[in-house]
C-alpha cells in the first residue's frame, strides 16, 4: 500500500473547514462519502450520467462524482446533511416530504440539490425551465417523476424563498 499521491487538502463543507489527506484527483463524491462520512450525496453511475451525486458548490448544482477535488478549491460545498441550515434546501425538502415525492428515494438527493440551486436564482425559473434541467441532469428509475413535479409545483406556488 502506498500513499504517495495523497496530499493535504482543505475543504469547506456545510459551513465547516475540513482537513483531509486525499489525492487531488479523487472525486469530491468519494471524499464526501468516505472521508467526511457524508452519505447524503449518493453514488449512482459515477460517470456524470444520472445526477444522484449532485451537491451544491458555491450555490451551483454540481455532479460530485464528476468533480475532482482539486477543482473545488475554497468553494463552499453544501450537502443534503445541511438541510436544516440551508434555507432553500430546507424549503425543497419540506415540499418533497409534503408530496411524498419519492419511491426508493435514491435519486432525490441530487434532484433536491438541483431544484434548490434553481430556486436560488432570480428571477425564479419557470416550471418548464426546471423540467429542462431535471431532464438534462437527473434520472429516476422508479417513475417518481409525477410526484417530484408535484413537489416542484408546490415550491413554485409558495412565496419566493429568501436567501440564507
Amino acid at each position: 500500500m502506498s500513499s504517495a499521491n495523497l496530499a493535504n487538502i482543505n475543504l469547506f463543507v456545510n459551513g465547516n473547514m475540513h482537513s483531509i489527506k486525499a489525492s487531488p484527483d479523487a472525486s469530491l463524491l468519494s471524499v464526501l462519502r468516505h472521508d467526511l462520512g457524508l452519505g447524503g450525496a449518493r453514488i449512482g453511475c459515477g460517470l456524470g450520467n444520472c445526477g444522484a451525486c449532485t451537491v451544491l458548490v458555491d450555490g451551483r448544482a454540481m455532479q460530485a462524482c464528476n468533480t475532482p477535488l482539486w477543482s473545488v478549491g475554497a468553494s463552499a460545498v453544501v450537502t443534503l446533511e445541511a438541510h436544516e441550515t440551508h434555507a432553500q434546501l430546507q424549503a425543497v425538502r419540506d415540499a418533497f416530504l409534503e408530496e411524498q415525492a419519492a419511491q426508493c428515494g435514491y435519486c432525490i438527493n441530487g434532484i433536491m440539490a438541483s431544484v434548490a440551486a434553481l430556486i436560488m436564482q432570480s428571477p425564479m425559473p419557470t416550471r418548464a425551465d426546471i423540467i429542462a434541467v431535471l431532464d438534462e441532469r437527473h434520472l429516476c428509475r422508479c417513475g417518481a417523476h409525477p410526484r417530484i413535479l408535484r413537489a416542484v409545483d408546490r415550491l413554485l406556488a409558495a412565496q419566493p424563498v429568501s436567501a440564507s
Binding site: L38, L47, G105, Y106, C140, C142
Partner: protein
C-alpha cells in the same frame, strides 16, 4: 371494537413462522417493534405493513417501529416480490398482530380483574369500557411472553383495517431526505472497498492476469482470483476502481462461445429447443369467424432493471461467521445460496436487509453479496463491494426477452371465433434459495463452478413467461401454448410483471387489430367480450377519464390506445388509455388509468405504485433494449441504455376503485402490461401503422412506415 373473527387457519407466512416473537417485540420502555420478512424496496411496502400492524394492535401508526428482512430476528417470508407483500405478508402480519393484541388484552383483563371480552384497546391502552383505569402495552410487556406458537392459540378477533386514507406517510423517507440512508452509505470502522473485474463477454474465461501488477497498486489489500472470478479489495474506493481498470488491461480472456446475432424480433428464439412446451388451453375453434383474421408476431428485448444505485453489499467475517448487509429481495434464500458456495452451515451466516435503490425485481443485489463475501474472506475487515454501472447494465440478470404469435379470427357478428397464442420465453424466475444448484453470478465463474438451480416455472394462473397469456376476455376456441426456453444469450430473472409486459401487449394489440378488421371501436369490441364486472368497471372508468368518445378516426399523428389486464389473472385490475403524438418521435400527451386492487390499505401508496408502474413501463416500451454484438453487450451505461426522462413524462390521471370488502391485491405490477399495450395501440391509431416489436422507437416506426 371487534369487527370480524379471524380465520381458524393461520395465513401461510405465519404458519411457516409460528413463533410470535419473530413478529413483534414489545418492551416495558414503551417501544413496539413489529417484524416482517418483507422488505422496503422503495415501493412503500413496509409503511403499509406498519399501518396494518398498528391498526390490529390498536396503537397509533407512528408508535410502531419496523424491523424487516433480518435472518437473526424476523420471520422468513422468502422474497419481497410478485405484488404479494400486502396480500400475503400483510395477511400474516395482521393475524400475528391480532394474536399479540389478544395476549395483551388477556393480561390486562387479569390485572383489572375482568373477563378478556370486556377489554377494549385504543391508542395502545387496554381499558374496561366506562372506566378510566387502563394498562398500556408498556405496562403489560413483562407479563406477556411472545415466545409462543401461534398455532397453539385460539383464533383472534380482527379490528378494523386501515381505511386507506388515514394519515400515513412513508417511514423511510425522512432519513432518505436527510443523509446516509442506503446500504451504499454504510461506513463502518475499518471499511475496505471491494470491486470485481467481470469478463468482457458472457462466455469469456480468464486465461491470464498479471497478479503482481495488481497487488502492487496503491491501496490494494487483497486480490482474489478463483477461476474467472477476479475480486479486489482496496483501502480507498478510487484505489479499488483504479486497480480494476489496470486489471482489465492486463487480463486475457478466451471467448468460448459466440452470442446469437441480435435481432429486433428475437428470431433467434425460433432456433432454440424449448425446455418444455405446455398447452395451457386447448379448445375447439368455433365455426365461422370469416369476417376478419389476423396473424401477428410481437416481441420485447431483454430489459435491464437499471437501479439508479449500483448493487452493493457489505460483508464481514469474524470467527468463521459471516455477516452480510444486502438490499436483496430475499435475505433468507440468499443465505441458503451463500452457504452452498462458501461451504458453511446456513446458520453461520446472518443476512440483514438494508435499503437499496429501487430494484423492480431480481437485479444484482444477490450476486454482489457473494462477491463481497468472497473478497472479504481474504481480509480481516468489513468490505463494501459495489458493482460498476457498466456491470450493472451488462451482467445483472435481465427481464427476459420474449416473442409471441397470435392467430385469431372474428365473425361478422363481431364475436371472436378462435384464438391461438404461442409465447416463447427464457426463464423469468432464477432466484437464489433453491434446494440444489446456485443462482449467484460469481458461483458460475469459480474454478470449480456451481450449476444453476433447475428452473421451476410457477404454474398458472400466475405463471411466468406465460403470465397473463390467458386473455381476460370471454373467448371461445382458445389454444394457448407456453414455450419455456432455457437461459438465452444473457442471464434473465424476475423483472416487475414477468411475462405480463409482452403478453398483455400482444393480446391487447391483437384485440385492436381484430376490431379494426371489422371496423369496430376498440372499447366496444372489448366490452362485447368482457363479463368480469370489475374488469368492465376499470375499463369504462379509464375510457371516461380519457374522454374516449372524442377519439376520432386517427391516422393524423395523434392517437388514443387502450390496454387492459388483471395482473397474474388473479391480482389487481388495471386499464390504461394512452394519448400520443407521433412526429419524428413519440410524445406521450397524457395517460389515463383506472385500477382496482381490492381493499386499499394506503391510497397514496397505490397511486405511487400505479404512477411509477406507468412511467417505467412507458420507458421499457418506448426506449429500452439490452443489446449485443459479437464482442459482447453494448449497453454499458445510461448513454447506451437510455430511459424515459423528465421532459417525457406526461400528465398522468389515475382513478382508484377501492373495494373495501374485497381482499387487498398488490398494485406494483398491474400497470405494466396495460401501459405497454395502450401505447402500442395509440401509436397504431395515430399512424394507421402498427409496430409489434418493442421498443417502439422512432427508427422502428420509420421502418414500419417505409415497409407499408
Amino acid at each position: 371494537m371487534t369487527i370480524t373473527k379471524a380465520p381458524m387457519k393461520l395465513p401461510a407466512n405465519l404458519a411457516s413462522n409460528p413463533n410470535l416473537s419473530r413478529w413483534a417485540k414489545i418492551s416495558a420502555d414503551g417501544s413496539i417493534i413489529v417484524r416482517t420478512g418483507k422488505v422496503e424496496l422503495g415501493q412503500g411496502a413496509v409503511t403499509a405493513l406498519a399501518a396494518i400492524a398498528a391498526a390490529e394492535l390498536g396503537v397509533p401508526f407512528h408508535h410502531v417501529r419496523m424491523e424487516s428482512g433480518d435472518t437473526t430476528r424476523t420471520p422468513d417470508e422468502a422474497y419481497t416480490a410478485g405484488s404479494f407483500s400486502i396480500e400475503h405478508g400483510g395477511a400474516a402480519l395482521r393475524h400475528a398482530s391480532a394474536l399479540v393484541r389478544s395476549l395483551f388484552a388477556e393480561a390486562a383483563a387479569r390485572e383489572l380483574g375482568v373477563e378478556p371480552g370486556d377489554i377494549t384497546v385504543s391508542d395502545g391502552v387496554f381499558h374496561r369500557p366506562g372506566h378510566n383505569e387502563g394498562r398500556s402495552y408498556a405496562d403489560l410487556a413483562d407479563k406477556v411472553d411472545l415466545n409462543v406458537d401461534a398455532s397453539s392459540l385460539p383464533a383472534p378477533d380482527y379490528l378494523a383495517p386501515p381505511d386507506g386514507d388515514a394519515e400515513i406517510t412513508r417511514l423511510d423517507l425522512p432519513q432518505k431526505f436527510s443523509g446516509a440512508a442506503f446500504i451504499q452509505d454504510m461506513n463502518p470502522a475499518g471499511l475496505a472497498h471491494g470491486r470485481v473485474l467481470r469478463p468482457p463477454h458472457p462466455h469469456a474465461k480468464l486465461v491470464f492476469l498479471d497478479r503482481d501488477l495488481i497487488q502492487e497498486m496503491p491501496g490494494v489489500l487483497a486480490l482474489v482470483v478463483d477461476g474467472s472470478f477476479v475480486g479486489i479489495a482496496a483501502e480507498r474506493e478510487e484505489q479499488a476502481i483504479k486497480a480494476v481498470e489496470v486489471a482489465a488491461k492486463s487480463a486475457q480472456w478466451f471467448i468460448g462461445k459466440q452470442l446469437p446475432p441480435f435481432s429486433v424480433s428475437n428470431d433467434w428464439m425460433a432456433d432454440v429447443t424449448p425446455a418444455e412446451s405446455s398447452l395451457l388451453l386447448d379448445e375447439a375453434p368455433l365455426e365461422g369467424g370469416e369476417a376478419g383474421q389476423i396473424s401477428s408476431v410481437y416481441s420485447r428485448p431483454y430489459i435491464a432493471h437499471g437501479s439508479i444505485g449500483p448493487s452493493s453489499a457489505l460483508a464481514h467475517w469474524t470467527d468463521g461467521r459471516l455477516k452480510v448487509w444486502s438490499h436483496s429481495q430475499g435475505v433468507f434464500p440468499l443465505r441458503v445460496d451463500l452457504a452452498k458456495v462458501l461451504g458453511m452451515p446456513v446458520d453461520a451466516i446472518d443476512v440483514i436487509h438494508a435499503h437499496g435503490a429501487g430494484c423492480y425485481g431480481h437485479n444484482a443485489a444477490d450476486d454482489v453479496a457473494l462477491d463481497a463475501a468472497l473478497i472479504a474472506r481474504a481480509i480481516d475487515r468489513p468490505v463494501m463491494c459495489q458493482w460498476s454501472r457498466a456491470d450493472e447494465l451488462s451482467w445483472s440478470p435481465f427481464g427476459a426477452a420474449m416473442r409471441s404469435k397470435l392467430d385469431a379470427r372474428v365473425g361478422g357478428d363481431g364475436r371472436i371465433a378462435s384464438w391461438t397464442y404461442d409465447v416463447w420465453s427464457p426463464p423469468h424466475v432464477v432466484r437464489p434459495g433453491g434446494a440444489t444448484g446456485v443462482n449467484l453470478l460469481a458461483a458460475y465463474h469459480l474454478a470449480e463452478p456451481f450449476e444453476p438451480t433447475p428452473v421451476r416455472s410457477p404454474p398458472q394462473p400466475t405463471g411466468s413467461g406465460d403470465r397473463n397469456a390467458v386473455p381476460i376476455y370471454d373467448l371461445p376456441g382458445r389454444r394457448i401454448t407456453h414455450h419455456r426456453l432455457p437461459q438465452g444469450p444473457v442471464r434473465s430473472s424476475a423483472l416487475r410483471s414477468l411475462g405480463a409486459h409482452l403478453n398483455v401487449f400482444g393480446i391487447e394489440s391483437g384485440m385492436d387489430e381484430l376490431a379494426e378488421t371489422i371496423g369496430a371501436d376498440p372499447l366496444d369490441f372489448r366490452l362485447a367480450h368482457l363479463s368480469d364486472p370489475r374488469a368492465r368497471a376499470v375499463l369504462e372508468e379509464a375510457a371516461r377519464l380519457a374522454n374516449w368518445q372524442s377519439r376520432g378516426a386517427g391516422g393524423e399523428g395523434i392517437g388514443f390506445g387502450l390496454g387492459l389486464a388483471r395482473y397474474k389473472s388473479v391480482g389487481g385490475y388495471c386499464a390504461v388509455v394512452a394519448e400520443v403524438e407521433v412526429t419524428e418521435k413519440v410524445r406521450l400527451r397524457a395517460i389515463y388509468a383506472a385500477t382496482d386492487c381490492g381493499r386499499v390499505v394506503h391510497t397514496d401508496g397505490v397511486r405511487d405504485q400505479i404512477e411509477g408502474g406507468i412511467v417505467q413501463a412507458a420507458s421499457w416500451t418506448l426506449k429500452e433494449a439490452v443489446q449485443w454484438t459479437d464482442e459482447g453487450l453494448t449497453t454499458q451505461g445510461w448513454d447506451t441504455y437510455p430511459i424515459l426522462g423528465f421532459a417525457e413524462i406526461p400528465p398522468i390521471h389515475i382513478s382508484i376503485l377501492n373495494q373495501p370488502d374485497a381482499p387487498p391485491l398488490g398494485a406494483g405490477e398491474c400497470a405494466a402490461g396495460p401501459t405497454a399495450a395502450a401505447i402500442g395501440n395509440a401509436i397504431a391509431h395515430a399512424l394507421g401503422i402498427r409496430v409489434r416489436n418493442m421498443p417502439l422507437t422512432p427508427e422502428r416506426i420509420e421502418t414500419a412506415i417505409n415497409a407499408s
